[in-house]
């Protein structure tokens, strides 16, 4: 079935690489080093640009303004994976906003800038809420159309002065200092704005919000099962990008004096996309250098091109941009940022602490975890959340759970049809605290579809799912996660470009609350939550014996270890109900035994666990009850030893060769045939 939706696996890189700004997040010198590097390049522009011969100080202003635009592209496309091509519209809102408010309303230019930014942010939020239901390239073209419409409106409306444009009025000023476009002082205002934008973007990316963004980019389904509301985080990234773009637009208006529509064509968006790609879509610190490279390239082309071929110089720009965009994507898909990454990694590896297990999280959390030390379980000083998990006293921080422990999870008559094919037909399940239910059946029996119905990744056609007594049928996955359900996936769905620790921290997403504002301004809430999340994540990693791999990129781990990380990610959510989809697949016999022990231990902590598994030895060892599915129907639910002996199950699934058991059903066994019409001889 081909539809416009792309698979969630849109990947901008083929190899798993953690961005260096994340890997070095706990090094105090890393952001300062980046800032110093960019600052040095920017503040010296008035000196070295004229020295090159074909650039002027004015190109420096262009660099700073486009840096802000490129940062928005990096945030939304690089970190969140959303192709938003309305940059020219947001840029225009800032520019025309300043001009119109200053001229028509007589507003102070600074106030005009602020009002425009708020308007751009609000508009972005509105558009975001509407269009983020669309995915991938569909989103790209719809937003490009929005950019095109915005350009036509700028060009036509009388409010924006039509084709002749609109003059801006008084320049930005503080006291007697006037920052008019041609002044050197204005260049420093722009540089400061660009550096502040860099810090804002970097702080946003290295935080709980940033992890959620990257998780959404890597794997939206898995992020949702950890409780991440994908739309919300996409909108956050878009709004931050829009505000930065609008401020850039206001600065541009102040710089040119007369705002005309020709500065806001779709070509601007393409140019910003090019700059972000050259800088590296995953690289905050690469963006300014990408802009610098493109501006220098463009000026050189215009200045030397006509000497080579005797044609109007401005005609070269479009084809030059296209060629550079293609060449960079083909030859250096990580952009300049990937070169910087390599250098920064080399610098980092000189330092002795680079090998410890704490990179990738903030300093505060490192101090906190050093109380317990790597490799050992938290002691009595362990945080309350961990204690609760260990002792089974599940005080739920998120929503109340039915005090009656009899029905953690209850599914009644869950049916699921896909265009005429009935994948599930009236499957029921009841799960109590401390219980492990095994789910078996041949391929295509509907086991994973049943999990998807429980976790909200698929909407059941009919039937009811209750978690702790609350009806959650048909809720989106991120809301079901809030009711205490966590899961793993049959085909491991990790976030490959994030460290193991970060993967598990995303799992703990709901045990913290810090939002974008506390991340951007590094408020106390940010530091507190980073600590809580890292502690929870470390504890979960230790339970699956993966603590020492915390700093590895998850995508570089072997299969069996990825399975464990995925289980740790589910555990970090401190769920009441855990769904494990083939957790023993690909594990050795001894690893499978460890898994059995872990599942038992978790059940003893009064979790309820449902487990799909083809490894019968492991499953029969750990399950309290076993439900058998076949062709979407529930054959029976019974004790493991009863299932093992059931002739119907043996005929349809287990087979006789490897089970030396009598075909006769034990007398008095409480086998329940939920579907009496099933005739095993009739099926193939």
């Amino acid at each position: 079935m081909s539809s416009v939706d792309s698979p969630a696996a849109d990947r901008l890189r083929s190899r798993a690489v953690v961005p260096v700004s994340v890997l070095l997040a706990d090094r105090w010198w890393a952001p300062l080093g980046g800032l110093a590097l960019v600052g040095a390049a920017f503040f010296t522009m008035p000196q070295w640009m004229p020295a090159l011969g074909f650039l002027s100080v004015e190109d420096g202003v262009t660099v700073t303004i486009y840096t802000m635009l490129a940062l928005g592209m990096v945030l939304v496309l690089g970190y969140c994976g959303q192709l938003m091509l309305a940059t020219n519209a947001l840029f225009g809102v800032g520019a025309y906003g300043l001009a119109i408010l200053a001229v028509h309303q007589g507003l102070n230019p600074w106030a005009g800038m602020a009002v425009s930014a708020v308007a751009a942010g609000a508009g972005a939020a509105l558009i975001g809420v509407m269009v983020f239901r669309l995915t991938g390239h569909l989103l790209g073209l719809v937003t490009l159309a929005i950019g095109y419409i915005a350009f036509i409106v700028f060009e036509t409306s009388s409010l924006t002065g039509g084709a002749s444009g609109i003059s801006v009025g008084p320049s930005l000023s503080i006291g007697s200092a006037v920052f008019s476009g041609g002044e050197n002082s204005f260049f420093y205002v722009c540089t400061a704005a660009a550096l502040i934008s860099l810090v804002v973007a970097r702080n946003l990316v290295v935080s709980r919000t940033g992890r959620a963004l990257r998780a959404v980019e890597a794997n939206e389904a898995a992020a949702a099962s950890a409780g991440v509301n994908a739309t919300r985080y996409k909108v956050v990234a878009f709004v931050v990008g829009a505000i930065i773009a609008s401020v850039a637009g206001s600065l541009y208006a102040n710089y040119v004096g007369v705002v005309g529509a020709s500065s806001f064509t779709i070509l601007v968006t393409v140019e910003v996309l090019l700059m972000a790609v050259v800088g590296g879509l995953r690289s905050i610190w690469g963006a300014p250098f990408g802009v610098l490279a493109v501006v220098v390239f463009e000026a050189a082309l215009q200045s030397y091109g006509p000497d080579l071929i005797h044609i109007n110089s401005s005609y070269f720009t479009t084809i030059g941009f296209g060629v550079v965009l293609i060449l960079v994507l083909l030859l250096l898909p990580g952009g300049l940022g990937s070169v910087g990454d390599r250098l920064a990694r080399m610098v980092a590896s000189w330092r002795p602490e680079s090998d410890d297990a704490n990179a990738g999280i903030s300093t505060a959390s490192r101090i906190a975890t050093s109380q317990t030390g790597p490799g050992e379980l938290p002691t009595s000083a362990a945080p309350a959340v961990v204690l609760a998990l260990r002792t089974g006293a599940m005080g739920d921080p998120r929503g109340q759970v039915d005090p009656d422990p009899q029905a953690l999870l209850e599914a009644v008559g869950v049916t699921c049809r896909f265009e005429g094919l009935t994948a599930l037909d009236g499957v029921s399940l009841e799960l109590q605290a401390g219980e492990v239910v095994g789910l078996i059946g041949p391929n295509g029996a509907g086991k994973t579809t049943f999990f998807n119905c429980l976790s909200g990744h698929v909407q059941p056609s009919s039937g009811v799912v209750r978690l702790g007594g609350t009806d959650v049928t048909g809720l989106p996955p991120y809301r079901i996660a809030r009711h205490g359900l966590a899961r793993t996936f049959q085909n491991i769905e990790l976030f490959p470009d994030m460290t193991v620790l970060e993967n598990v921290m995303v799992g703990a997403h709901l045990s913290a609350h810090a939002g974008a504002l506390s991340a951007v301004f590094r408020l106390p809430g940010h530091w507190h939550d980073e600590r809580v999340l890292a502690e929870g994540a470390r504890y979960a990693l230790q339970r699956v014996d993966m603590g020492r791999y915390a700093t590895r990129a998850a995508g570089t781990l072997p299969y069996g270890q990825q399975r464990r990380v995925e289980i740790a990610r589910a555990l970090a959510a401190q769920p009441h109900v855990l769904l494990l989809d083939e957790p023993a697949a690909g594990l050795s016999a001894s690893e499978a035994q460890e898994l059995v022990e872990l599942v038992r231990a978790l059940a003893n902590e009064s979790l309820g666990i449902v487990m799909v598994e083809h490894n019968m030895r492991a499953l029969m060892n750990v399950a309290d009850r076993v439900t058998v599915l076949d062709s979407g129907r529930q054959l029976l639910t019974a004790l493991p030893e009863e299932v093992r002996k059931d002739p119907v199950v043996i005929a349809s699934y287990l087979g006789t060769s490897h089970l030396d058991i009598s075909h006769a059903r034990a007398p008095g066994a409480t086998v329940r045939h939920d579907d009496v019409s099933y005739v095993p001889e009739g099926g193939s």
Partner: protein, 309 residues
Amino acid sequence: MGWMPTLCATGIGQLPETLASGIVNGCIYALAAVSLLVVYNVTGVINFAVGDFLMAGAMLTLLFAGPNGDPHRLPLALAVLLAVVIVTALGALLERLVIHPRRRQGTIFLLILTIGISSVLEGGALIPTGSLTYGLRPFTSGPALSVAGVLLPRQDLWIVGSTLIVMGLLWYGATRTRTGKALRACEVNPIAARLVGIRVDRYWTIAFALGALLAALAGAILVPVTYATYDMGIPITLKAFVAWILGGAESPVGAVAGGVGFGVLEAVVLGYSPASVANYGDAVPLLLLIVALVIRRRGLTRQMAVTRV
């Protein structure tokens, strides 16, 4: 329908002409939308450069057919043929050089690559044409024909006729030829197609070539009724995209219906709205459709899926 009263007020007499011009424009959108569809269904790539392939077809036709008095000009049929062949080869070449090396990357990555292709084609046309506009005489000269009281310029009939013939050939090719069947196999199930010995990678090239061919042909038949400029591509890409989605994004029949539907909608909206609105040109139908798309996208595609089954 809500807009009927206003329409009567403006004068019903122009309605047939308005609808006819909508259908003619719609044929161009339909060809471009089918071009998008062919490439997308086989490769999963949205070809952002579709409008620029169309522009290249128009520009090359102009180059070869030349102004009326030019002694070096080629016969029109030959000019169109040459233009289409060259653009088709260009589509195949760009796929091999640009898309092919990165075909394992995600679709967004590939979409950005086609944006690069779009800039190269646009820039490549800008250097020789220097942002001037060019027009071409109609394929057959003579006064507009009157069909059932409606005046139809001759080139309009060329456009509608060519579109019908091309769609018929496409249908024949897809269902009756080996290559067509293989292309559709790649579209339905690339893995199974590979298992039965179809070289799926090769069909990426064929799909891009076929997409470029359809776009180039649309450009060639369009150029007598509109002026060609180097930057005419992006608005056409956007409209083709809208037509493609509007038609359910799944079948060529849907894409044609979407293209013609969008063309008619555009003509009616712009023809019957007050000048203060009509001044915004392309923005008006695009905005209407984005709103419809965002609100009702699921419904639109599902309806089409059902009718297809």
